[in-house]
Symmetry: C2
Subunit: 144 residues, 2 copies
C-alpha cells in the first residue's frame, strides 16, 4: 500500500550504501538508489530510470541519471550490459551470472550461474588480465 510515507526516516539503507561507496548522499542519488536497490534485482536503461524517477515525483535530469549510473557502476554496485548498438542496460545484480537477450522485445533476463558454465577460458593476452566475462545468449521467437 505504501502511500508516500511521511518523511520520517530518510531512507537509511540508501544513504549508508552511498556513503560506503564514497558518494555524497544527495537527494537525487538517494532517490535513484532506492528505485534501483530496494526490491528485486533489475535491468534498466538510463532513459527508463529517468522516467521512473520523474513519475515518482523526483526532479532529476537525464544527465544526472547517467552520472549516477556510471558512479554506481564504478563503485561496483551495478554493472553495464551492452546488447545492441545503442542499447545498454544497467544491471543491479553484480553476482556471477549471465544473460538472455530477447532480440524481438529487447528484454534482458538473467541466467542463473548454475545454469551455464564455461569449461575453459583462454589465457589473457600478454600484459593484460581478465576483468570480466560476459555471456549473452541471444534468443528470438521460435518461429522456424
Amino acid at each position: 500500500m505504501e502511500t508516500k510515507s511521511p518523511s520520517r526516516r530518510p531512507f537509511t539503507g540508501a544513504i549508508v550504501q552511498l556513503k560506503a561507496a564514497g558518494l555524497r548522499p544527495t537527494r537525487q542519488r538517494i532517490a535513484l538508489a532506492r528505485l534501483l536497490f530496494e526490491g528485486e534485482n533489475r535491468h534498466v536503461t538510463a532513459e527508463e530510470l529517468h522516467d521512473e524517477a520523474r513519475a515518482a515525483g523526483v526532479s532529476v535530469s537525464l544527465a544526472t541519471v547517467y552520472n549516477a549510473l556510471h558512479q554506481f557502476t564504478d563503485a561496483g554496485m551495478m554493472r553495464e550490459v551492452v546488447v545492441e548498438a545503442g542499447r545498454s542496460y544497467f544491471d543491479t545484480n553484480t553476482g556471477d551470472h549471465h544473460h538472455f537477450f530477447h532480440e524481438d522485445t529487447g528484454m534482458l533476463d538473467d541466467i542463473p550461474s548454475d545454469q551455464i558454465s564455461l569449461a575453459s577460458l583462454p589465457d589473457a593476452p600478454d600484459g593484460t588480465s581478465v576483468s570480466r566475462v560476459d555471456v549473452i545468449v541471444r534468443v528470438s521467437s521460435a518461429a522456424k
Copy 2:
C-alpha cells in the same frame, strides 16, 4: 606489389559472393566486399571501412557502408559484435569463435573456438530459440 591493376577482371570472387547472397553487385558493394573478404578475417567499424574505401579511391557514402554491412550481416557473411555503448564491430569471421575485448584500446581479438568452451547452456525461454551465443572476455592492462 599490386599497383592498381588495369581493370581487366572485374573481381569475380566478390561478384559471385554478392550474387549468391541475392545482392546486386554494384560498384560500391563490390569494393566493400573486396576490402572485407579478400585476405584475412577482420573486425571493422563502419567508420573505419568508410575511410578505407575512400582511401582506396572508392567513392561511397557512410550510409551506404552501413547498408552494405547490415546486408552482409543479414546474408550471413559477417556478424556484428557490440562491445560498448556506441562501439560495434563487424566481424568477417562467421565461424564458431568468441572475443577478447581490450578495454584500454578498444581493440577486438578472436578467441579460437578450441580455447574456450561452454560446458552447459540453459534451455531457451519458452517460445524462443537460441540464435547465437556471444562470449566477450574483457581484458585490460595488467597493472594491478
